[in-house]
C-alpha cells in the first residue's frame, strides 16, 4: 500500500500544480474564451488528479473521490461551455486573429429573430 500512497502524493502534487497553472491561465490569457481554454483544462485535470491522489492515499475514500472526479469531469467543461456561450450571447466578441468566426452567423440570426 506504500506504493499507492506515493502515487497519491504524486497525483496530489501534480494536481495542485495544474490548479495553479489554471489560475495563471485565466490570469494571463487575453480574452474570456482563451482564459476558459486554459482555465478549464488545467483546473479539471488538476482537481481530478489532486482528489484522486487523496483517494489513493486513503484507499477507504477512493469510491467517494471517484464520484467527485467524475462529477468534475462532467461539470467543469460543461460550465466552461455555458460561460463561453453566454459571453458570446452577451456580445463579448472573441479575439479573432484570422477572421474565422463561424458562430457569428448563428448568433446574428438569433438576434434578428428576437427583434
Amino acid at each position: 500500500m506504500e506504493i499507492l500512497k506515493y502515487i497519491g502524493i504524486g497525483l496530489v502534487l501534480l494536481g495542485s500544480i495544474f490548479l495553479l497553472l489554471g489560475a495563471v491561465g485565466i490570469y494571463r490569457m487575453p480574452d474570456v474564451y482563451n482564459r476558459l481554454q486554459a482555465g478549464t483544462k488545467a483546473t479539471t485535470l488538476g482537481a481530478m488528479s489532486l482528489i484522486l491522489g487523496v483517494g489513493f492515499m486513503e484507499p477507504e475514500w477512493l469510491v467517494k473521490t471517484l464520484i467527485l472526479v467524475i462529477f468534475i469531469g462532467i461539470a467543469n467543461p460543461l460550465s466552461s461551455h455555458v460561460l463561453a456561450r453566454s459571453a458570446y450571447k452577451n456580445n463579448q466578441m472573441p479575439i479573432i486573429k484570422n477572421g474565422i468566426d463561424a458562430y457569428k452567423k448563428i448568433n446574428d440570426s438569433e438576434k434578428s429573430e428576437e427583434n
Partner: protein, 168 residues
C-alpha cells in the same frame, strides 16, 4: 433510440442511482442499502425520463470495453492538452491564433454529443462554444483551417469514432 422501453430506462436509472448512493455512503450496512434502494427508486421514478433515452444497453460487455478505451485516449489527450496549456500560458509571448470553427457530427445520442463536447473542451486548444442541431462550434486557440472537414478530423475524429461504437 425511442424504441427503448420505459421500464428499461427506469431500471437503468435506478441502478445508476443506487450505485451512486453506494458511492455516497460507501457502506454495505443493510440499513444503508435498503434506504438507498428505496431512495434511488423514488428519485428514479421522477427522473428516469430525462435521465436516459438509451437504457441498459450500455452495460453490454463490448461496450464497456469501448468505454475503457475511450477513457484511456481521453486521459492521454487531457494530459497532452495540459502540457499544451502550460506551454502557452507560461511562454512570455502568449502564442495564440484564435478563431471559431464549425463542423458536423454523426452522433445522434444526446449523451454522446455531450461527452464529445466535453472531451473537445478538455483536449488541446479547443473549447466547445455551442452545438446547434448537429453542428459543433469550437473556439480553437490555434486555428489550422476554417474548413469544417479538416476541423472535424483535427478536433473530433478519434473520439467520435469510439462514441459511435458505444452509443449505437
Amino acid at each position: 433510440m425511442q424504441t427503448v422501453s420505459l421500464l428499461n430506462r427506469f431500471i437503468y436509472t435506478w441502478v445508476i442511482l443506487f450505485i451512486l448512493w453506494y458511492a455516497f455512503t460507501t457502506s454495505l450496512e443493510p440499513a444503508e442499502l435498503i434506504t438507498g434502494g428505496f431512495v434511488s427508486l423514488v428519485v428514479a421514478s421522477f427522473s428516469y425520463k430525462v435521465f436516459t433515452g438509451s437504457g441498459l444497453k450500455i452495460f453490454m460487455p463490448h461496450k464497456l470495453f469501448f468505454v475503457a478505451q475511450y477513457i484511456f485516449i481521453f486521459i492521454l489527450a487531457l494530459i497532452k492538452s495540459n502540457f499544451d496549456v502550460a506551454r502557452r500560458v507560461l511562454s512570455p509571448s502568449l502564442p495564440i491564433n484564435p478563431g471559431i470553427v464549425e463542423f458536423n457530427t454523426k452522433l445522434t445520442n444526446d449523451f454522446a454529443k455531450m461527452v464529445l463536447a466535453n472531451s473537445i473542451t478538455l483536449t488541446p486548444g479547443t473549447l466547445t462554444i455551442d452545438i446547434v442541431e448537429n453542428t459543433f462550434y469550437i473556439h480553437w486557440i490555434d486555428v489550422k483551417s476554417d474548413n469544417p472537414e479538416i476541423a472535424h478530423t483535427e478536433i473530433a475524429n478519434n473520439f467520435e469514432k469510439l462514441l459511435l461504437k458505444i452509443f449505437n
